[in-house]
Each structure stands twice: as C-alpha cells, then as structure tokens.
Symmetry: C2
Subunit: 306 residues, 2 copies
C-alpha cells in the first residue's frame, strides 16, 4: 500500500478519515492516526477556541517519546472566522490541512509557507486542475455519493476519479462511496492513490456524533439518503421527517429563500451531535447502508488493510 | 477474464454492449459479438417487424460454417407490444434476452422454457434479489451515472455493486459509468463478474445513432449530463436546449402532467436517431465526457481486454 500519499503525509496506509462536522474531534482523528491512517479534525463545526483544544489534545494523544504521529485539520474555507482558524492552525503547528468549499488559491501559499502540507477537496476535474495550479500537495476528489455537502455537477466517483487522475500529476485521493476493502480496491483501480472515508468513520466508536444518529444511520437501507437543498448547497441527507419536508418543498419548486427559511440554523448540530432524529439534518453518505456494525477506528483500518 | 458470465453466454470476454434505443441495431450487436463480447439488439425503439429484421440480419452476420456466435435482445417490459415482441424472440430462437423496466416474474419462465438465457436490469439490491428469486440467469445492476432511464433511488455504481454482489449468488454484471479499462477493473474489484457498456458503444462507428448526436456527445464536458424527468421516469440526458427547458420546468415545480406535455412524443428518436440537437432528447451516460474518439466496436473491445 506504500505510495505517494503515504510518503506525503508520512503515514503507513493511504487511508484518510474525513474531517466531518460534529463527528471528527481529536478522539476520532487520533484513533485513526494511531492505527496508521491519517486522522483529520473537522474545524467546520468548531469555534476557534474549541478547535485549539482539539488540536492540542490530538497532538498529546499522538505523542510518544517526543515523536508525534501525523494528523490534520479539515477547514471549509467559507467558515466565517477563517482568519482566526488559520492563525490557530499555524500557531499550533498543525502539520497537514485539508481545505474545502472555496478557492485553493486563497490560503495554499500561506499554509505552505509555514510548512503545512495542503490538500484540497473538489468535486470536478476542472477544479482539481486549479488546485494543482494553486500549488496544493494533493487533491481529494469526491463523488456524488458522498455525505454532506456535495458538488453541483453530480459526477459520481466512478466517473470522476479516472477523469481527475488523467488531468493532474499530484497525488489523488478518492472520496465518496468508500467504506469497504472492495471499494478501496476499486478506487485504486480507477486511478486514486489513497482514499478518504467519511461515513464509516462517522458511525464508529470514536466519532463524536450522537448515538441516536449513529444507530439511525447504521439502520439505513439502500436508497435512504438523498441529495437535497440543491438551490442552496447540495447536501446528502439521510431520510427523516426533516428531509421529507425538504423533498416536498423542492418538489413544489421552493425557492432558495424558502429553503433557507425551512432550513433555519443549527440543524446539522441538532441531528448529528444532539441526536434529534426528527428535526435534525442527518448528513451521511450513500454508503451508510453498507455499514451495520459498531466498530472502533482501529478495527476499520485493520479490515481495510487486511 | 474467463468467468461465469463468459460461460453463461458462451462469450470470450465478459463485456456486454447495452441494448440501447436508436443505437443498438444488428450492425452494432454483431460487431460486438464478433469481437468476443455480447452484442444486444435494443428492441425498445423497434416496431415488431423491424425487430425481426434486425434479429435475422444479426444472426446472418454472426454465422460462419453453420456456427452462430451468441447475441441477444434487450426488451423493456413496459413496451406496448410486448406479447408480439416475445413471440418473435421465441420464434426466431434468440439465445439471450436482457429484460428491463418491469417485473422479472412476468416473462422469465416462459423465455427459459424456450431455452432462452435471461438477464434482468435493476437499479437496486432489493430488485436484484427479486430477479434471483424469479429464476433469471444473471443480473445487471446499473448505477445513477448510467444514461437514459435510471433508478429512483440514485444509488451509484460504487455503492450498488458491492451491495448486490453480497445479496445474490447468480452472476452480476455492472453497468453505469463504465467506458475504460480502469473502470472495467474497478467494477470487477467491486464484485461484478462482467460489465455492460452503453455510452461508449452508443458513440462508436457501428451505432445507428445520428452523427450529430455522436459528435455532440463526444464533445460533452464533465458535468454536462443531468438526471431529469424524475416525476415521470428519471432519465439521464445530455445538456441541450430541451434539457434546459426541463431543468427550468422542474426548478419551478412542474407536475408530472406538465412534464409529460413538455416531453411530448418521439423526442428520443428526434435526438438520437434524427440528430435534432435542439429539440431532441439526448440520452447518454455521465461517462460520455471520457469518450472522445470515433472508434469501431472492435477497437473498443481490444482496448478493454488489452
């Protein structure tokens, strides 16, 4: 499994745990990094002070005899306090940053100037090429089947990875629809050199998601997630009362304003972190229907590399 | 490449050419079968008499020294003259039938009683299990990225194939998003024993689609197809004036009745067969953006098995 992704991030296996809102705290990130993958803290759901706490705790958990295993932070670039977030990341000497939801031009050179390795998440080949031009070290290309925020073009992992792979020369990490060893192998066959796994880690023991959320998602059958809110930011959600309301609103042609009003604030926190299965927004990938067991991050890694 | 799909259909390579409306006549089907794959005639766009002509011509093209290479017919079970179509298939001793768009229970035993091998096309695991129970010989599982008519659950090839593979024991053929050797390998890694390729064959020399259609589709960039008409039968179309009209209508919440009126009759024929790029319905898969060259069916097979 040794390849450029392993060398770049100084990890044993080219398996990255997605930095997901309300799931990816220091506990999950450090468990994945300890098991030989790359753990990412999800800054998207953290106040700056809380992010600093998670970075410090993650480093502590990963340090033994003065040696610290690699870990990273995922930063959605549309985050309102982005300047403060980046300052903390640089101050705390975070070795790796995955950026998403914004232009890779804005922060890549600043981060790299401070010795940070940078990967950027995209959902199209055109954007992957822009990332390479902006000087990022690696690209994560994420297909339509992925959970949470998603691309407008709806290109699936099967179509996206070969296209990106032939358009860029820097390492390519595949995301969207990957939970099993067979899917890992398929992603590599398509031209990726590593995988980013969200859903399966979101539902594992060390994820900070609420038990209600985890149990609900582990019980999902095939076809029970849907890409919704396309007039705002396309987001893949598990079926629940709230998602059905959105389906109904979109079916009758609700405008972006109406959808915004329906969405309100803090629904992802309510659903994922507080376990409100009725009114919460349950962000999860299509592959959830293949995840049935409560596992530890280490068990997941072991199964993937076995 | 030898496996159960090859044994079942008595073919050299487990590569099936989709039986697509307005593309898959006897010329395409016989070219694919001659090259060692399995060619399918697409009955969905043929009057019964015309289908009989294509079957006879296909058999003729595939017979040498009294030996006939295998070929098949794809039959959408919702076809209005379905009884007549099935009668012709049985009379003309077609060795293989791929059924789709309907229940596998209805025709499987009749066909098998006449020595016909039967595969059924599905877009979900639940339906794949029903196919196995109905006694079909193989299942084609088709992901969201596929062209033309498509499933309601929007499950992608990446998520669908592993799920179906673990739910059935009969041979599984993967469809949707497969055009290249890398994608073939990925489909096999996911658990398929064969692939059905539509888009790449729809755009090749022997396809009966209009040159305008082929040139337009070969020029598509990533993201330039879209799954539309979801309130009727979800259908993946290439972007054009007609598809933009549908996007606009769906965005304002058009009902099934309104969409039916907008769609009218014979749009697929207009777009694919008559080459009307403005008003026609251009059914094609997401993977079209990876198909750039005018190739023969034989060249495609050679590249896939090379």
């Amino acid at each position: 499994m040794k390849n450029r992704v392993c060398e770049l991030f100084e990890i044993k296996y080219p398996i990255i745990q997605g930095g997901m809102v309300w799931c990816s705290g220091w506990k999950l990130a450090s468990a994945v990094s300890k098991a030989g993958g790359l753990g990412l803290i999800g800054a998207g759901s953290m106040h700056p002070d809380n992010l600093r706490h998670h970075i410090i705790s993650c480093r502590e958990a990963l340090t033994e005899n003065g040696v610290t295993l690699p870990f990273g932070v995922n930063v959605p670039l549309l985050y309102p306090q982005i300047e403060e977030i980046m300052e903390i990341i640089i101050e705390e000497r975070v070795p790796i940053v995955f950026t998403s939801a914004g232009s890779p031009k804005k922060w890549t050179s600043t981060l790299k100037g401070h010795g940070v390795k940078v990967a950027h998440v995209v959902s199209s080949t055109a954007f992957a090429v822009k990332c390479q031009e902006a000087g990022v070290d690696a690209v994560v290309a994420e297909g339509f089947e992925a959970g949470g925020h998603n691309g407008r073009e709806e290109t699936t992992t099967f179509c996206l990875i070969p296209a990106v792979s032939s358009a860029i020369s820097i390492p390519l990490i595949s995301a969207g629809g990957i939970a099993t060893k067979a899917q890992y192998n398929a992603a590599i066959a398509l031209g990726a050199e590593g995988v980013q796994i969200g859903t399966r880690f979101a539902l594992c023991k060390e994820s900070s998601a609420h038990e209600n959320f985890k149990a609900h998602c582990r019980g999902l059958k095939e076809g029970e997630t849907k890409l919704l809110l396309k007039k705002l930011a396309p987001t893949r959600l598990a079926n629940n009362s709230f998602s059905f309301e959105v389906v109904e609103a979109e079916s009758r042609g609700a405008t972006a304003e109406e959808l915004n009003a329906l969405l309100g604030k803090s629904r992802a926190k309510a659903g994922i972190f507080l376990g409100d299965l009725t009114e919460g927004e349950l962000e999860i990938g299509q592959v959830a229907s293949l995840v049935k067991m409560e596992e530890s991050a280490e068990e997941i890694l072991r199964e993937l590399i076995g």
